[in-house]
Amino acid sequence: MTGIAKGEGPAEEEAAILVRGLRKSYGDVAAVDGLDLEIRRGEIFALLGPNGAGKTTTVEILEGFRSRDAGSVTVLGCDPGSQRRRIKSRIGIVLQSTGVDPYLTVAETVAMYASYYPHPRSVDEVIELVGLASKHGSRVLKLSGGQQRRLDVAIALAGDPELLFLDEPTTGFDPSARHEAWEVVRNLATLGKTVVLTTHYMDEAQNLADRVAVVAAGRIVAEGSPSSLGGRDTASARIRYQVPPGLRPPVEFADAPDPAGFVELVPADFTATLHALTGWALAHGATLDTLQILRPSLEDVYLTLTGGPEGGPR
């Protein structure tokens, strides 16, 4: 690549967000405790973590709402602490809980926020994009919770931001509304926008994010694509089946069954063991109706990394 300033690596040039050693305490409690983060332009990045892990504090520092105690933060090449005004017109924010004037209509609300930005998008287009076209002239008062959340997204898009922050965008959505919201976010990514979302829904991260970081106790404990996070892609698969009635499996397939009669194996050679197991069942005329092949889900990895629900990493 050419044209990169000296001393600035490619990372600096490509990164929408670069965070090093971020710290923020409230009283004696360290909400963010040495967090590092790098988010590339054009990617959908999810911050996962339990409540109180420091996600919202981190995001609100990036958005310029909070000051930081220590660390360096660059958002679109600017410091959100000292150069907040330069960032404001280039980012869109969906806060975790936030309101709009209940007496304005959907179209008036979007038009009002659009007017604050130097290069706004068309109001009708934004309303269409979030699926509120049928509510164009309705007062905000009359919208359902899910529709108000979509209006939040519409307002965040009104200024045609390069970077969009979504703090738990689909909390309280029903499943179909959630899928619609995901579609909206994916469309944004195809427009080249960078999206940073926080969530505690694993399926949301799995479905939407190019990369995921897990936050626990104010720092990043794992980072990667949803399919490789925490070594998911290389972790051993497990075989789980119910011993057919009246049969005694050979020793290598017969770990102690759990109360429901299931046996779970973590074979060293997965393929050979599976082959041998089904061969044995066929030879005895048994069916393995309940056979399952298990890989660690994103949720398993998440729970391991964040130490719940069984307390401490397994």
Binding site: K88, T98, Y103
Partner: protein, 255 residues
Amino acid sequence: MSTAALTVSQIRYVNKAFWRNPSSAFFTFAFPLMFLVIFTSLLGHGQVPLAGRVVHQSTYYVAAMAAFAVITACYNNIAISVTFQRDAGILKRTNGTPLPAIAYFTARVVHALLVAVLLVTITVTFGALVYHADVPTGATLLRFIAMLLVGAASFSALGFAITAAIPNAEASAAIVNASILPLLFLSGIFIPLGDNSPSWILWIARIFPVRHFANGMQSGFLSTSFNWTDVLIVAAWGLGGLAMATRYFRWEPRT
């Protein structure tokens, strides 16, 4: 858009939301007229000795309710609606956009001022038609307008300042009324103060801005003398409110 253009467009949105909110429009508009009718009906047949003159009580109330209307439109209305906006997260969202804070504040103050002017016009017209109150003209009108503008701006600033003392939207009406209602009584808005009023009441009326504001407004109707000190004292309170608001105003809900 420039900051000025943003302010103008912001005033239009504030205005739309104001008129569509039944309670804010009702309380702001109906109360002063209702009180005018009630107080004039109850007490309006007497005379009030005022600054060496005797005036009809009905005329006195037209001026007093005009002052009350301005205070409601500016102080009460701004304090309550801004606290609601803060609690609902509207202010935090606004603070995350490039809208300059000055455009937001100016729009609210100018809107309150426009509502105040409209209210005073309605009250005065009503008073002139029904109670034959005098209407200020000429130089008196100009002084009257000066007092009106300074008062509206000052009570708006105080409205912003008091939001810092209001913990949440539920408490806003209670705190706003507790802070202004006793003062309205002690300043002779509802019941005229006389020379034989207790001196502690007269002292309170002298310290706080309500009495001075009402004095300035009354001079237009009652041909009493207009004192620029009244304007200065109201302005001083306004500047104090502005300083407090600048220092303590919060964009985020107090949790």
